[in-house]
């Protein structure tokens, strides 16, 4: 696999590439680096190159790379470590899982250099979300009441917790459908009064989410939606126990609200960064 080419070849390599001429005490090595496309080539070479110190040329067809480096300043090891940290497995180092997973999909090469794990991996812990499987039964019974849009609302909230704006959009569309489907005739007098005042706000908020260009814009609209929904639920009395929760930090201290089935805090306004920020302010 690896061939150390001795000084005799040095003259040749220098004449091949002008940039190499600047690398003193130069040493040439050929190594195998995993990867599969042109985009990989630029990432690998960028990670490996240091001006006047090292130069990497990677061949996307063979996966072979030639490293030319100043053996006084650096080592094959150091260069390959940098390349692995950029996401590419090689003879000495394996890329971190997260870095590999974050590579562009065309760069997600087969990790043939990784050894098989011996023990069976424990199953991934399914995150217990509000709108998860355990609540499907509930979904069916509540469909006719005022809380029929609760399920899509909670799904929307979970999408925002996960920072998934596409899923948020889909859930909002479901929410809108439930809103339109709701027959105003079923309401009591008080409910109707609240409904007339809040319906428009709810629609504006959902429009804000679907039109939102960024997850931040969607989250801002979600706060409006939550406040409005709270008023509606408060008037009609929810069919189950719900928690009105508050994050005091959002929007430079203006704060934001959301509704959840769980007492535990999972803040939809910051994603993973501030997942546990907030507290329950009211039980509905």
């Amino acid at each position: 696999m690896k061939s150390y080419t001795l000084l005799g070849l040095l003259a040749l390599s220098i004449s091949v590439n002008g940039a190499m001429a600047q690398i003193k005490n130069s040493k040439l090595v050929t190594v195998q680096i995993s990867g599969n496309c042109g985009m990989c080539k630029s990432t690998i070479e960028k990670a490996g190159d240091v001006a006047n110190e090292s130069l990497v040329v990677w061949n996307s067809k063979t996966g072979e790379a030639t490293l030319t480096y100043d053996s006084d300043k650096t080592s094959e090891e150091a260069i390959l470590k940098r390349i692995a940290l950029a996401g590419y497995d090689n003879e000495r180092y394996l890329a971190p899982e997260e870095t590999y997973a974050a590579l562009h999909s065309c760069c997600q090469y087969d990790r043939t250099l990784q050894a098989e794990e011996t023990g069976s991996k424990p199953a991934e812990n399914q995150s217990q979300a509000d709108s998860g499987e355990q609540h499907t039964a509930h979904e069916a019974t509540a469909s006719s009441s005022m809380s029929s849009f609760l399920t899509p609302y909670l799904r929307l909230k979970d999408a925002l917790i996960a920072g998934d704006s596409k899923a948020a959009n889909e859930a909002t569309k479901k929410f809108d459908q439930a809103l339109t489907a709701l027959q105003a005739a079923n309401f009591s007098k008080e409910e109707k009064a609240v409904w007339t005042s809040e319906q428009k706000k709810l629609q504006q908020a959902t429009a804000g989410i679907t039109a939102g260009k960024s997850i931040d814009a969607q989250r801002q609209a979600f706060d409006k939606l939550s406040r409005s929904l709270y008023t509606v639920l408060k008037a009609s009395g929810p069919s189950e126990k719900l928690y009105y929760q508050h994050c005091p930090m959002y929007q430079d201290g203006k704060g934001a609200y959301w509704i959840s089935r769980d007492t535990g805090i999972k803040n939809p306004y910051y994603g993973a960064q501030m997942l546990s920020c907030g507290k329950t302010v009211e039980t509905l």
Partner: protein, 753 residues
């Protein structure tokens, strides 16, 4: 016959009992030779301290029931001491100079002797001055006896290894200490955390920066000192190749860093936390944990596959560097590096949390037990992935079908929430509840301090301003701690483990270090059942030396090693409130501008001078002796003495804006006045001289324009003004250009000490 059997079995029993008692009372002796040494950690040969030729100091191993006998031979040219961190022992063995013993003088030998009455992972370090920074730290292991009922299969019987985390600076620790107190921002230049106006504008955070300075805050950071290297057992990288696939290893990790917290992450899967500060906890699996200064954590790691070495990475909290340890042999499986902090996001968050008077404001979030890490706003690795944002989805839809497919592919893997350890997750393996019939003494401490002058205190009092806190022996001490400062503090109690009250009730974990983040409130409790003077302090070395300490005096302990306890305490108080000297001078083309100052936690004696090169420009020296008032120390009343000589032309007099004329060319004046820090960190100084002349001045010296460029200005009611720019190229040097109303335009070399 029967009798003989009886007798034989009796003899056997006796022998057995003797055997056990011999085993139980085994004395384990270590001889430690403390010596100066030279090390080469970061490009330069520097002084360090080695014990038995080692840095870190040797690992000391005992079994519960042993007696430790540790002989310290001090071969340094200064005094030393050794503190046994987290260990229950008689007060005179605790190793705090001037509190539990006299310092071990240069050339002297001192023997520490104490029974080992607990088990777990501990460490030891010098408690003298700043010796801990330059190598005086080592691991200590107290094994469980094999018949211990708390012996845990799969944890206590697997291979274990002690790892000490530490950091290295090429600066002398006393220089580090002085630089922190003199407000030298060289560390933030090295760390690239200046957060200057230019950088703020670039990051679209100009308003954030303005608000930050309005609230009189300096650049925000999670740690104060720049370190060249981070080390695990004295090395930046090492490997233990003897592990095979399927093996487990228990690591006894102690953070011996003087001021760095470390993130621990592992390339081979989850980290199982099994003990903390020497005490067993129910195993809990996490993706990462932050180990506070002086905390210990025992973790168990899996080696999942053959022919692979898995990396355990310890990253400094400020992410300026890391150290690695590889387990296994073969290709090295790396773990992702933690990306640089997003400081302006942190600044924005801090702005919201800081009141105008310098108090912290938690917005009603009731923070405690590290459960809500406000610093997380600065962690880029927790940001929502850009590929999941709406704008990207939109972009994908608009471009080629091929790209659309990619966007979908990236979308597919479920986001996994990383589990970070916090104190709420720690649960003791057996009940820890205290005797409910004991009397309870409640104490509350507010952790206070300010970054501007690097004064750290409790209830706005440093150790030199407080007496020992008397505690009756056997009392339960319940302490509520509230962190009203901007930095986190690892609070360490000597001689006891305290319960950290969390959701686990009777199973609240036992610890001896409590990391408390800004705005958090935590409650700890313990039974004060060992006599003596026990230190309670912040374990960040430079905070401790700034006075963030208290002493609990339990019972009436007569320490045979301290003849005069009161006098010794006075010395201890003095050592934690040292005077710091600083001076600077600008050798400029139009004269010399400079100052010299001697300061401690409260007092300041300072002299400023402006010395021209001729009589027209004049010579001026102002001396102020003042005392800083309040927690934030924004106010300093002072008395002053001015001397001035200059030669103005005939009948040229200066009139100030109040119409007062000052006729003398040679003037000596005594004054009283006050200095106050206004929003935007502008100092206003008002002064009345004995001849009735009044002077008001506004000034600021260190406006961060860019990473290395500082602007300054001064204006006063004598119609004098100055504007200047300084480019910092060395920790003690800069190029300065300024315009002064008296002396005109000048360029020079600004030197500071």
């Amino acid at each position: 016959m029967l009798l003989r059997i009886y007798r034989a079995s009796f003899l056997a029993l006796l022998l057995l009992a003797l055997g056990f008692s011999v085993r139980g009372q085994q004395t384990v002796r270590y001889e430690l030779y403390v010596r100066d040494t030279l090390v080469h950690f970061a490009g330069k040969e520097k002084r360090a301290i080695a014990v038995n030729g080692q840095l870190p100091m040797p690992t000391l191993t005992f079994t519960e029931g042993d007696t430790a006998e540790i002989v310290v031979h001090n071969q340094l040219r200064e005094s030393t001491s050794l503190h046994w961190h987290g260990v229950w022992l008689p007060n005179k063995e605790d190793g705090v100079p001037h509190l539990t013993q006299q310092p071990i003088a240069a050339g002297e030998t001192h023997t520490y002797r104490f029974p080992i009455i607990q088990n777990g992972s501990y460490w030891y370090h010098s408690h003298s001055g700043l010796q801990e920074q330059i190598g005086m730290y080592g691991s200590m292991v107290f094994h469980k006896r094999e018949d211990d009922p708390s012996f845990r299969k799969g944890i206590d019987d697997i291979p274990s290894l002690s790892l000490l985390l530490s950091e290295w600076t090429n600066l002398r620790p006393h220089t580090v200490d002085r630089m922190l107190h003199t407000g030298n921002d060289w560390f933030s230049i090295k760390k690239n955390t200046v957060q200057s106006y230019a950088e703020a504008i670039q990051a679209k955070h100009f308003k954030t920066k303005i608000r930050n300075e309005w609230k009189r805050m300096e650049a925000m950071d999670v740690s104060d000192v720049y370190y060249e290297k981070f080390l695990i057992n004295g090395l930046a990288e090492q490997q233990l190749a003897s592990f095979k696939a399927g093996d487990k290893v228990r690591l006894r990790i102690a953070n011996a860093g003087a001021s760095s917290y470390f993130w621990l992450t592992y390339a081979g899967g989850k980290i199982s936390v099994v003990a903390n500060d020497g005490n067993d906890v129910e195993p809990v699996e996490v993706d990462r944990l932050l180990i506070g200064v002086s905390e210990t954590y025992d973790i168990v790691l899996d080696i999942p596959a053959q022919n692979t070495a898995y990396e355990l990475l310890a990253t400094a909290e400020d992410r300026t560097g890391s150290a690695s340890f590889f387990f296994g042999s073969g290709r090295r499986q790396l773990t992702a590096r933690l990306p640089r902090l997003q400081y302006f996001e942190g600044m924005k968050m801090m702005n919201d949390m800081m009141k105008m008077n310098g108090d912290m404001h938690d917005m009603g979030m009731q923070m405690s037990l590290q459960q809500m890490d406000m610093n997380a706003v600065m962690y880029p690795e927790l940001k929502d992935k850009p590929s999941t944002s709406a704008s990207d989805a939109h972009h994908a839809a608009a471009s080629s079908p091929h790209e659309k497919h990619e966007a979908h592919a990236q979308h597919a893997p479920q986001r996994k929430d990383k589990v970070t350890l916090n104190y709420g997750m720690l649960r003791a393996t057996s009940p820890t509840a205290l005797d409910s019939s004991a009397t309870v003494k409640n104490l509350r401490f507010e952790l206070t301090g300010n970054m501007n002058r690097y004064v750290w205190s409790m209830d706005n009092r440093v150790l030199s301003e407080t007496d020992k806190i008397p505690i009756k022996k056997g009392e339960v001490l319940r302490i509520v701690l509230y962190n009203n400062s901007m930095m986190r503090h690892p609070m360490h109690l000597h001689g006891f483990d305290f319960r950290v009250l969390n959701k686990n009730g009777d199973y609240a974990p036992l610890k001896n270090v409590l990391d408390i983040m800004p705005m958090e409130t935590d409650t700890i409790e313990f039974t004060a059942n060992r006599d003596g003077d026990w230190f309670f302090h912040c374990h960040i070395l430079y905070h401790m030396m700034a006075g963030m300490n208290r002493v609990f005096a339990v019972g009436d302990y007569q320490n045979p090693l301290l003849a005069n306890r009161a006098k010794a305490y006075t010395t201890l108080q003095k050592e934690s409130n040292m005077w710091h000297f600083m001076a600077d001078n600008d050798f400029a083309s139009n004269g010399n501008d400079g100052s010299a100052m001697l300061q401690n936690a409260r007092w300041s004696i300072g002299t400023e001078w402006r010395l021209g090169y001729n009589n027209m420009h004049g010579y001026e020296v102002e001396t102020h002796v003042g005392r800083y008032i309040g927690k934030m120390q924004w106010l300093m009343p002072f008395v002053g003495f001015d001397w001035r000589y200059r030669k103005l032309g005939m009948d040229q007099h200066e009139t100030n804006i109040f119409g007062q004329t000052n006729k003398k060319d040679s003037r000596q004046a005594v004054s009283v006045g006050a200095m106050y820090t206004l929003p935007f960190l502008i100092n206003v100084q008002a002064e009345v001289y004995h001849d009735g002349i009044v002077r008001l001045a506004l000034m600021r010296e260190d406006i961060p324009i860019s990473r290395r460029l500082r602007a300054g200005f001064m204006w006063n009611t004598d119609r004098e003004y100055m504007v200047g720019l300084r480019y910092i190229f060395h920790k003690n040097m800069g190029i300065r250009t300024h315009y002064d109303s008296d002396m005109g335009f000048g360029v020079g070399l600004a030197v500071n000490y």
